[in-house]
Amino acid sequence: MVDGTYDETPEAEADGQAEAIAAHRRRNRLGPIFWIPLVWIVFVVLLAVLAPSLGLQDPADIDFLALQAPPNEDHVLGTDVLGRDILARIVYGARVSLTVGVAAPLIGLVLGLMIGIMAGYYRGWTDEIVGTAIDTWLAVPGLVILLLFSVIFGGSLPTVCIGLGLLFIPAAARITRATTMNFANREFVLAARAMGASDLRILALEIFPNIVWPLVAYILIAIPIAVVIEGALSFLGLSVASPTPSWGGMIAEGREHLEETPHISLIPTAVMFVTVLSFNLVGDTVRRRLADLRDRAI
């Protein structure tokens, strides 16, 4: 072979690599499109958590002297149709939106994970049953399932979380099933099995760590979706029961008075929009990062 005499300068090669790494860093720097939404999310989360100790008015308190008041000294964001303080209701409403937004995807994820891992690992009839069950689940549009659920079990925070969580099962199960099948026959799993590891051990130690990342990516998409659906549900008056404030409910309440006092609907609309947009923007960036990391790992 004459390859040994190939006199490519090592410095040139190193230069090239440094260049490439610098370019990669430049491309990967997190811009304001990531930080501003993140700051907003942290802000909303803090408000929601600290709500009782912020010295806000009672969100259910009715100020008869100021019905549908525009923003003023007593009520920074004005009052709603019943004279309740909009700022207080927004902050307490954030608790509902955020709780549902995080809890529902988590519930769906945990259940979907268990179902999907079984289907993907054991295959055969388990897989067949799970497949048919998921098809059945998907044969009815999500919102219809959710409406039924809230009619039957009533509107309260736990039922909304569970009902909405159920909607995330099919996708979570499918992602898990596909990833599990992908890994179940890899060398390291076969090796573990050859060494006599139990199924549970294999699932927990060998397969589970590989499924986590696709699911984290999924949960990032699921959070804004959950917030939006909760909004729709409370808009229809089928989420948490009044007088507990929720953003969708507030938007619905102001609907009749859009002409004279649009702020009653528009303020919660703006807050909800900015929050959902923030979740989408942050989620998108993080998801891209995860994909990059995974690509590089492979």
């Binding site: 004459v2 005499t5 190939y6 006199d7 490519e8 090669e13 090239g16 260049e19 370019a23």
Partner: protein
């Protein structure tokens, strides 16, 4: 002598990549006269396809073309033409055939539409007339039952037939220059010769010029008038075809000649007879780029890059400090 149909002057086509500037075509000069076929031969990655796309003006957006590079077609500097005039030229005066007929035909359009649309575009034919002309063209390129085939989709045809369709598309507007980029590489060995002979026959009948790009010396033998051998983005040897085969001077050309696939080889066999790999085109080494792989390498080859020198009789050029006369006859 008449003016050449195509003049390529100091063509440099570089690509901006994450690692730096990739010199895909790095100073290529040649001329091609009306009615002649130029074979361009080289390993994959030597820049022959990029050269073809440079002539067509079909380059990606990260391309940088050299300052002094000129492509002059029929007296017109293609680099100076606007996109609209270039489009009018493409498909009508300069046509191209791609390597893989499996991917170069649109899967959702019928064969007839794909042939006819060039005629509608460049010659202003009606749909009906274009379809009729498409049938004739299919017959010309040797497709049986053309009136049936014209309404079929590419996936209903065999690989060889698809390449014939691609040729029919290229010929549809009577181009003056046809660029065939590895037209048979993706095809079954049994149909390769048919396609090549069809191309040569059409080229002579229509008095076109043709650039036949290939990695296989056997393809250009007997089917071209002159041959340019490319290595690492440059032409390293050029001669009239018989002269080149009789009197090979570059060690690289000799190596290519030795690697002509034989009939008993399995199809799609890659050239692996030349030891070593092509140089890095982003950070090319000093000296002759073939030096690391050359069996006749000397000190001078590692220090200085040899220019393409025309021999005194004007029929043979090579970029080599120590040209051989190896005389390898296949």
């Amino acid at each position: 002598m008449a003016m050449p149909l195509l003049q390529v002057i100091d063509q440099r086509t570089y690509f901006e990549t994450g690692r730096g500037l990739l010199r895909a075509v790095d100073g290529v000069d040649f001329e091609l006269h009306q009615g002649r076929t130029l074979g361009v031969v080289g390993e994959s990655g030597c820049g022959k396809t990029v050269l073809a796309r440079s002539i067509m003006g079909l380059l990606p957006s990260n391309t940088r073309v050299g300052e002094g590079s000129r492509i002059i077609f029929d007296g017109r500097d293609l680099g100076a033409l606007d996109e609209k005039s270039l489009r009018a030229l493409r498909g009508s005066e300069i046509a191209m055939i791609f390597q893989d007929p499996m991917t170069s035909l649109n899967p959702v359009l019928t064969v007839g539409k794909q042939i006819g649309e060039t005629l509608i575009r460049h010659h202003g034919l009606s749909r009906h007339a274009a379809r009729g002309r498409a049938v004739e063209l299919l017959r010309d390129v040797g497709i049986p039952q053309p009136e049936v085939r014209v309404d079929q989709y590419p996936h209903q045809l065999s690989g060889g037939m698809r390449q014939r369709v691609a040729i029919a598309i290229a010929l549809s507007c009577q181009p003056r220059l046809l660029i065939a980029d590895e037209p048979t590489t993706a095809l079954d060995v049994t149909v390769q010769a048919d396609i090549l002979d069809l191309l040569r026959r059409q080229q002579i009948e229509r008095d076109m010029s043709m650039i036949l790009i290939t990695h296989d010396m056997g393809v250009v033998a007997g089917r071209s008038d002159e041959v340019a051998v490319m290595y690492a983005g440059r032409i390293v040897e050029w001669a009239e075809t018989p002269e080149l085969f009789r009197n090979t001077r570059m060690p690289y050309t000799a190596a290519l000649l030795n690697s002509i696939p034989r009939v008993d080889d399995p199809p799609h066999r890659r050239i692996d007879a030349i030891a070593g790999r092509p140089p890095d085109l982003i950070h090319p080494p000093k000296g002759c780029l073939f030096a690391p792989r050359c069996g006749h390498v000397e000190q001078r080859c590692r220090r200085h890059s040899p220019p393409l020198q025309l021999a005194s009789d004007g029929t043979h050029a090579q970029a080599c400090w120590f040209p051989q006369s190896v005389g390898t006859t296949p």
